[in-house]
Amino acid sequence: MIASSLPARIPIACLRKKVIDQIVANGIVTGCSYALVAFGFALIYNTTRIFHFAHGAVYTFSIYVLYSLQTKLAVPTWVAILFSLALTALLGVGIDEVVYQPLVRKKSSLLLLLSSLATYMTIVNLLIMVYGNEIKVLNPEIQSTYVFGNVLLSRLQVNTILFAVAILTSASLALRLTKAGRMIRALRDDVDLLSALGVNPRFLRWLVFALGSALAGVAAVLQGLDVGANPNSGLLMFVSGAVAVIIAGGRAFEAAIVGAFVIGVLHAFAVWEFAGRWEESVTFLLLILFLLLRPEGIFARTRRVEESA
């Protein structure tokens, strides 16, 4: 019976294999953007314990800066990108200085979270006031494509993978090899320790926010060139990044990258399965599922019970 059903099934299986390869490839490309956002979020969240909602707005901001530079000033794309990344890093540091720093003393994660949420709303709505609610196209050219075995990728998608790998690798190496990087890793473990040793944690915080925001900016630029500028895209990216960090659970920044690829691939499959109008809900459904089904990544590691408030 098995033998008789085989000939009919083989072509379908081939087709499915091909489709699955393509979906996984798409998932990896999306995962690259998620990974950049997640790595940036992990840098900030793991060292400052601020649930940095405004990260989503920082992401969105970066696309619109690029859009303005391209359309209003007509500078070369790479100059525009570098400039927009610099401004994005500055915005991240600015948020920390203006919004978070004055609250740190109060030691309330709820205050910080609410302020961060309000910062997100402020920036995104300012952007909508300036640019409107419609999607803006940044890159009107038709992309050339490459074929790798079963998989078809556009030039931009290939670039996304290359850039993401290069940037994530160098960021990860910088955190391990440079002095400042090692201090950031120490900051992750104990904020008070550093100030006791006489290192200026404020400077390190600037570094963390600048680097974290610039990473989100890279993702934003890559995504923006591909699908255009959308004022609400930051929320989705932020949630995906945050979920990646949550899945990772531990405190290693690099673990978030793995989480991001998991979400990217799952997202690609889910979109293929329930295509169309439900696409955006998939991210949030994954969020809920991960929050509820993987609690060990979510709860703080065992502390003395007295410490938990």
Binding site: L111, T119, I128, L287
Partner: protein, 289 residues
């Protein structure tokens, strides 16, 4: 005159929303970003019953409230074991998913087109279809809700909620079933939000999903942050100020096209400033420790 009546109706509805969210945020210390989702689910259930059946208005409202309470328990029971930040994130997820369901389940909700021409509620043969007649209904709904929520807050039940807000572990060590209290508070808050939704739909006689999105949840939250949480006065003050504010903008001649976004910018900036200088809000008690 007609305009101030409209504002009064909206104030009554938002008073119910902010006072009920206050039970979660101000009393229990649970930050929820899905209040507008319950507002919307209540509005949709009762509206669908009003338009598709001949049931009396108040029964439709009651079913809407009951349905929303059941939904809230399904949501809260698994997610309330998450701690602080993650619970907020989960509530954001639920808010968005409910919005997508209202938006995309076109067969039932008419999706983005919304539901128009909703019958005005009537008491026997008296149809409440003008703003001043409706104000009777919305105002009594607000007073009733406010009173019930006030009683709850001042009762031993409210006392335990406050204790949970202050120190969960200590409350548990006194024999209080934290999860049960939280689920109950969540269900009550959702029920009142649904009630507000039904009253809202009956008033506007038109609803669409964009009225119940994340922005709306953040708006309700801003009301109790600006006004203050943990008592009854704070949310009432907040409602008064923030519902009145668009009229101020209109009065100043801000163009309609940027009005809604400018409003959100100003509310958010207000939240940032309040968090920094007066975390208990203008008239509240709770300081978000």
């Amino acid at each position: 005159m007609k305009y101030s009546l409209h504002v009064a109706n909206m104030m009554a509805i938002y008073a119910i929303l902010s006072l009920s969210l206050n039970l979660l945020v101000g009393y229990t210390g649970l930050l929820s970003l899905c209040h507008a989702a319950f507002f919307g689910v209540g509005a949709y259930i009762s509206t669908l019953l009003v338009t598709n059946t001949t049931l009396p208005f108040f029964l439709c409202v009651a079913i809407g409230v009951a349905g929303t309470i059941i939904l809230s328990c399904l949501i809260s029971f698994p997610s309330l074991r998450l701690r602080g930040d993650y619970f907020v994130l989960a509530s954001l997820g639920f808010q968005t998913i409910v919005f997508f369901v209202l938006y995309n389940w076109v067969e039932v909700t008419s999706g983005p087109f919304g539901i128009a021409g909703i019958r005005s509620p009537h008491i026997f043969s008296w149809i409440l279809d003008t703003p001043h007649e409706y104000l009777l209904l919305s105002l009594s709904a607000a007073v009733l809700s406010g009173l019930l929520l006030y009683f709850l807050g001042a009762s031993p039940f409210g006392r335990v909620l406050k204790a949970i807000r202050e120190d969960e572990l200590a409350a548990a060590s006194l024999g209080k079933n934290i999860r049960l209290f939280k689920v109950t508070a969540f269900a009550i808050a959702a029920g009142f939000a649904a009630f507000a939704g039904a009253v809202f739909a009956g008033y506007l006689r038109y609803i669409d999903p964009t009225m119940f999105g994340l922005t709306e949840s953040v708006f309700i939250l801003s009301i109790i942050i600006v006004g203050g949480a943990g008592n009854t006065l704070g949310p009432v003050v907040g409602t008064f100020l923030l519902v009145l504010f668009p009229e101020v903008l209109r009065f100043l001649g801000v163009p309609e096209s940027i009005g809604p976004n400018l409003r959100l910018v100003i509310y958010s900036l207000a939240v940032i400033i309040i968090m920094r200088f007066r975390p208990q809000g203008l008239a509240g008690e709770y300081k978000y420790q």
